[in-house]
Amino acid sequence: MTKNKRDWNEIGKAPTGIPGLDDITYGGLPAGRPTLVSGGPGSGKTLLGVSFLVEGAQRFNEPGVLLSFEENADELAQDVRSLGYDLHKLCEEKKLLVDYIHVDRSEIEETGEYDLEGLFVRLEHAINEIGAKRVMLDTIETLFGGLKDTGILRAELRRLFRWLRDRKMTTVVTAERGENQFTRQGLEEYISDAVISLDHRVHEQISTRRIRVVKYRGSTHGTNEYPFLINRDGITVLPVTSLLLEHDASSERVSTGLPALDDMLAGRGYYRASTILMSGSAGTGKTTLSAHFVDAACARGEKCMYFLFEESPQQMIRNMKSAGIDLKRWVDKGLLTFHADRPNRHGLETHLLEMHHAVEMNDPDVVVVDPITNLMAVGTQTDVRSMLTRVIDFLKTRGVTALFTSLTSSSATLEHTEAMISSLMDTWVLVAFDTVEAQRTRHLFVLKSRGMPHSDTVVPFKITSQGFTLLPVPARSVRSKSRGPQTARRPK
């Protein structure tokens, strides 16, 4: 860390204000120098650059000039309105200046020696007009389509980047990715301070945006590819939190919502800010058990967020009402917020980022994800694990108690999935069916619970119109106990 601190001072960084990007660059883009942002069509280059300018103008008191070669001011304003940016207002306030440069080869005849001094004059004029500290060139390579003499163009671009450096402009230069190089015209040759690459790829029909800091002269930076999201809140790059095991461990306990289950957990329930996995096959009552937990939390006046990936909130409320749990009153009181989404609507990162945003907006005490297994189907195993680690870390740091339900079947692959995430969970409760004498009975079992003595008993229960009822352990159940419920085995 001390090394990073020193680099900060040596280099001088201009924060982008984009959550996550300033973390992986340890503070932002190189101040007073150009940064190349390269990517394919639709990869988010322009949005990243505009965010950098808007955030600079709004939060860091650094006005910006946008020299656009592709879209005019109105089109750009339209593009970024969905991110919550009002370019017109910023322009009126003289915090931003958009100059649209239109070059059409068919309109231009070249008749001898020329230079791009006109571009320099316009840029300088714009910079002086608003006292700009930041500049964005989007996309300057368009000039190669407009002017025939590439020799002049290259020499002038070299001069332009030097000129921007001399004026200490923190500049974002966007460029289309070329074959085997970061830009079509090899701009990376002129901009060697920092190169950021954006990517948009599809895995199993689900697209994920990724960002990588390819190069950052004179500074340490995260070298991995990081997923990022563009939504109504702008751009967010993961990780938005550090991956360190340094959150506080609370010794406070919270009720599971069922006194009998509290009893099984040393009589006092879960730890606050811990993670709970509730797993079982379909129809065992995982959701009902989660609803009990939420109901109890709301009754204590705590805020809860319930992420649904299987049902709509209305359906959930109706179903729980039949089990005697009135969730609607908590929704009406503003204590319970539902967040329902189809798992396959986005990639895993997008889901987790959306959860992230929702949690930051609502600041809940309790979060339920039902079921986490549906999300796990939309990413590869490594992705899932690293994402879950980040989300859990985030929730724990915020002191949120998080409950995840997991749908299992008797097949080995799903147990494997569970084994993958179980290490991230502090408490693991299994619910299962057992068939005894043509009668299906439900069982509940605490597989593990870190930091507390917990019951080892397999407890039968019923779901009635009053919700979960844990039954006394039958003395004769030696046979069924020795065999154990199907899914209540610790996976290898």
């Binding site: 309109e107 231009i108 008749t111 001898g112 020696e113 020329y114 006109g118 316009r122």
Partner: protein
Amino acid sequence: MTPAASEQFDLRLYVAGQTPKAARAFANLRKICDEHLAGRYSIEVIDLVRNPALGRGDQILALPTLVRRLPTPIKKIIGDLSNTERVLVGLDLRPRRASA
């Protein structure tokens, strides 16, 4: 498309300061106009160093740039205008050859 022989030519020459390139462009332009547009042209020289805001209106990027404002449509010719043939083509005073 070649403008009629009577049409008035309204030309603007954009430059940045008194550079040799600008002076060359102006001299070349005067010579071409006197030869081909005698009595029916006007030239306005705009120095962007003095009036930087004027560069936006005509979308000026390269310098020097000659803009034919009249007759319409607007034409732009960049460079020091040393290639007379190309200037004449650019001003629509000579038909564009297929190979050009």
